[in-house]
Structure formats: structure tokens, C-alpha cells
């Protein structure tokens, strides 16, 4: 076996992953908090007010990074779901299922802050336009995956059923992303582009990208922590899990 494949197999071993994730997660959380603090400082304090929206536009610094994460996490969940369904790797099942609550959290933030932004700018909390509606469907997909996983008794069968739903739901991701292009929406189009120049001033762009980086780190950290717990629960009968339970006795 070549080195990469070997490393992949080692990583897939629950005790090894549990140990590694436990070591990495605190650093990732610390980095996320640091970058978020810097980004929010830049966005709420340093960046100038918008010429049309005044200070209300500052909601962008929490709304847009969360919206990016709501789609990104769905994509990661679907990739893991695919691996889980095709190769039946336990760790992929666990990772896919651990993605769902984090994705749901970011989708809730997106919808809530979007409503709060919509009220002063559009004059309404909610409208059934394509972007808002497809983002709401995204939340229901996350909740569907969580619900299906909880509803089936056998954990591995539950994971496979929920992974299947997650995989079908991926069609919604491009719909959310392109909804502002395909339909005439009240929601504005993209201002930050990977290809080509962004329609946002540099003084507002760097705080936005810092918060975006922070949410990425946060996601990875939360994913590792959640996957650890799930592995412990799944492998409760095994020696390493029992040893871990004994070791954790007394420590909160």
C-alpha cells in the first residue's frame, strides 16, 4: 500500500481519529474565535458605513459567511454521504451525520439575520422569493437528515438512510446558489466573486473574509468534536471506548 492510502486507513480507525480530533479541535476553536473577533472588529468598528444602507449593512459580516457555510457544509455532508454509501466506511457515516446539526445552525443564522436585515431594507421580514425559499428548503433538508437519523433504531442503517436523503438533497445547493441569477429575486446578486473583481470595497472585504475563515475553522472544529462523540457512542462495547470512559472519570 502506498503511504497516502495507508494514512487514509489509519485515519479511518476510530481510536486513532478520536485521539487526533481531540488534539486538533481546541486549536481550531481558538483560531476561529480569534479570526471572528478580528473580522467583527474590522466589520463593526473599522469599516466605513455604506452610502445607501448606512450602518445596517454591517449585518453582512455575520449573514454572508453563515450563508456560505450553509451551502459548503451541505456539500461536505453529501460527499461524506456518498463515500458512506459506496464504500461503507464508518467514519464517513459519522462525519456526514455530524455535518447536519452544524449546517442547520448556520442555516438558522442565515435565515434569522436575513430576516432582520430585510425588515429595515426591504420593509419585510420575509418574502417567498427564490433565494429565501430555497434557503428555507435547505434548512428542512438538514432537519430531515437529522430526523431520519434519529428515527431509525440501528445506528448504521439510520446513517445510511439519512446519507441517502442527504445525497438527493444536493440538487438544492446549486438552486440556492444560482437562484439570484435564474429568477428575478428581491434578494441581491453576489457581490463577492471568486473569479473576477468583487463589487465590494476592500475596507469591507477583508473583515468579511476573516469572518468567513473563522466560520470554516469553527465548522471543522465542531465537526471533529461531534464525530468523536458519535464514535464513542457507536463503539461503546470496544476496549478503547471503555478505556476512554474510565480515563474521563472524575474530569468534567
Amino acid at each position: 500500500m502506498n503511504k497516502l492510502t495507508l494514512w487514509f486507513h489509519t485515519l479511518g480507525s476510530p481510536p486513532y481519529f478520536h485521539r487526533l480530533a481531540g488534539r486538533l479541535a481546541p486549536w481550531l476553536f481558538a483560531g476561529a474565535v480569534l479570526f471572528a473577533a478580528a473580522g467583527l472588529y474590522g466589520g463593526l468598528v473599522v469599516a466605513p458605513p455604506d452610502y445607501q444602507q448606512s450602518d445596517a449593512y454591517r449585518i453582512i459580516f455575520v449573514h454572508v459567511p453563515s450563508a456560505w457555510m450553509s451551502l459548503f457544509i451541505y456539500f461536505v455532508m453529501a460527499v461524506n454521504a456518498f463515500i458512506a454509501l459506496v464504500w461503507r466506511i464508518k467514519l464517513a457515516e459519522v462525519l456526514a451525520m455530524a455535518c447536519a446539526p452544524i449546517g442547520a445552525a448556520f442555516t438558522v443564522i442565515t435565515l434569522a439575520t436575513g430576516a432582520i436585515w430585510g425588515k429595515p431594507m426591504w420593509g419585510t421580514w420575509w418574502t417567498w422569493d427564490a433565494r429565501l425559499t430555497s434557503e428555507l428548503v435547505l434548512l428542512f433538508l438538514y432537519l430531515g437528515v437529522i430526523g431520519l437519523y434519529q428515527a431509525i433504531e440501528d445506528r448504521r442503517q439510520a446513517a445510511r438512510a439519512a446519507a441517502f436523503l442527504a445525497l438527493i438533497g444536493i440538487v438544492n445547493v446549486p438552486i440556492v446558489h444560482f437562484s439570484v441569477k435564474w429568477w428575478n429575486t428581491l434578494h441581491q446578486g453576489s457581490t463577492v466573486r471568486l473569479l473576477g473583481p468583487s463589487a465590494i470595497d476592500a475596507s469591507m472585504l477583508w473583515p468579511l473574509l476573516l469572518v468567513a475563515l473563522a466560520t470554516k475553522l469553527w465548522f471543522v472544529a465542531s465537526l471533529l468534536v461531534r464525530a468523536r462523540v458519535e464514535l464513542l457512542a457507536l463503539e461503546g462495547g470496544k476496549e478503547w471506548a471503555r478505556a476512554e470512559a474510565q480515563r474521563a472519570e472524575g474530569t468534567p
Binding site: L44, S54, A56, A105, I116, W117, S222, A245, Q246
Partner: protein, 60 residues
């Protein structure tokens, strides 16, 4: 400072958005930790029950 807190008259909108962001992520931070505590306690309980069973009925 009070200018900063007032957010040009949009204080309620901006600060509630930031609060939701921080609050929801705080829940995301805490919930797996509570679950970990429950799972570990359950594993210890299972281990204790097994040990008791094996001391009560030692296999000959």
C-alpha cells in the same frame, strides 16, 4: 462609543444579528460536550454492571 453602539439608528437590527450569530454558535459548542458527558457516563455504567455480574456469577 455611544455612536458605535447606536449603529446609525440600526442598533436593534445589527446587534440582534450579532447576538444570534454568537448565541447559535455557542449552542453548537456546548451541545456535543453535554452529549459526550452523557455517553461517557452511560459507558461507565455499562462497565460497572458487567463487572458486578461477573463477580456475582463467576464462571467456573
Amino acid at each position: 462609543m455611544s455612536d458605535f453602539l447606536a449603529m446609525g439608528g440600526y442598533a436593534g437590527y445589527v446587534w440582534s444579528s450579532v447576538a444570534i450569530f454568537v448565541g447559535v454558535l455557542a449552542i453548537d459548542f456546548i451541545s456535543p460536550r453535554l452529549r459526550r458527558r452523557r455517553v461517557l457516563a452511560e459507558l461507565r455504567g455499562r462497565a460497572r454492571r458487567q463487572q458486578r455480574k461477573s463477580t456475582e456469577n463467576p464462571t467456573p
